[in-house]
Amino acid sequence: MAKRIDVSGLTAYYGSHKAIEDISMTVEPRSVTAFIGPSGCGKSTFLRTLNRMHEVTPGGRVEGKVLLDDEDLYGHGIDPVSVRREVGMVFQRPNPFPTMSIFDNVAAGLRLNGNFKKSELQDIVEKSLKGANLWNEVKDRLNKPGSGLSGGQQQRLCIARAIAVEPKVLLMDEPCSALDPISTLAIEDLIGELKERFTIVIVTHNMQQAARVSDRTAFFNLAAVGQPGKLIEIDDTERIFSNPSVQATEDYISGRFG
């Protein structure tokens, strides 16, 4: 179910500006990989190339290869829409559909993907909400709007919505940066459970968070403002935070810059 991501020689542009350059890495299935690095280093841009969301931005363009198991996401004749059904995404700010109920939010992706019977939908919605540790809090008000929930609940609703379609990979773009510490803890616990079923990639500004939730950590950096961001190193999280092989990583982690 979960799939391996194999990136080679990936470069992304905004118009003529090169945002990230020549990134190669492998992400193992059923693992959590964290991207860390200073603002503007291109880690979010890189994340968005993994489900072809980058090219939605006007001027967004990508070169290189992203293999999901053996299939090149940027291959000839690959439909970005079908890529995004395989690679789910959770955003920085919780963004449930404000006009939909909690139930409809979770069912939104399923309804796009095909015809489900009402009972099937109910089962999957319940399973997804349970998977996102939200079921007990919302089971009595599934028909209420999702925008009535707290920020942390909304973000778990968004996670439930993303996992309802059973993606192979789950991308998370700073999923806790708009949340309080207790909600953050709830999401981090959830990430630990979700990695049993999905390949997870998470961008975070919070290095303790990277250390807590991830198996592998990738450090991104850029030489100067206006220069493209690059992958400095990727290694086991333990090693990155104790004994990184590149000096810049150690400087960043110990707070000497960035």
């Binding site: 079908s82 449930p96 559909f97 404000p98 006009t99 709007p145 009535g148 968004c158 919505r161 993303a162």
Partner: protein, 339 residues
Amino acid sequence: MDISTKKSQNTDEAPPPAAPPTQAEQKRAARGATRPGDRIFLGLSRGSGILLLVIMAAIAVFLTYRATLAISKDEANFLTAFEWNTNLIPPKFGIAVLAFGTVVSSIIAMAIAVPIAVAIALFLTHYAPRRLSGPIAYVIDLLAAVPSIVYGLWGALILVPQMDGLFGWLNNYLGWTGIFSWDEGAPRSMLTVGVLLAIMILPIITNVSREVFRQVPQTHEEAALALGATRWEVVRMAVLPFGRSGVISASMLGLGRALGETMAVATVLSPDFDIHASLLNPGGGTFAQNIASKFNEATEFGRDALIASGLVLFVITLLVNGAARAIIARRKEYSGANA
């Protein structure tokens, strides 16, 4: 009793404790010091608000007063009579035909204009390349600026002759319904008026809808995209629901214009005082058109009668606006404004 309290006050040696500030005083204090500019601005804005209410009240009083003068002498049923004979003794007139014509022509206009306007707005905000959407939006703004008499002349000279083909086709295929039967008269009918009104209200509905669709938060569209939605599915999941109440408001602005449109209708329509089942045969009338056509030659009493019909149009417009507000408010908790 009186004396004793006075006495006790006099003998009280401690100074009276300062009264705690009342709520009003606290509120005033919270606003901070006021300078002349504050007072002048407060006066101006409050005065403008009051002026608006006074004008509205004056119009309502004027309409009601003159209308009562006319209606009290009406020998026919004012709401249901199919005639407008204010010069008869006793006078007989009723607004049934005008109400029917006004509502029907506006419904036709809305049925044509709203879907097209929403489609144009979606195209401009979500499909057209930016280089194209600017000029198109500009042209639509220009359309809104064309005076209604010009639309009327264009309608009478260009649109009416062109309607023959459409009317013939409708008569051939849908004539059996009765609504689209046609006796080959000049196509100066309710359908032509509706088409013309649709063109006239298209710009305002398009412009307001465009603004609403432009404000759909990027995060909602990305949420749909990330679920694997196609562009149309993004529009359906994120854009249309968010813009729903805005589109309703936009439509109400257009409907207001269609209900009250005068010159264009008067120029195109060939009126009579009857209700026709067919939208294709000439005849019928609207409130505004009827007032414009008859006002100059009307007697004092005839004018009062026309004012009475204007009052009914006023009430219909109020009802429509109220209904629209109710629709918007009904699902407020689901509106995009909570996001």
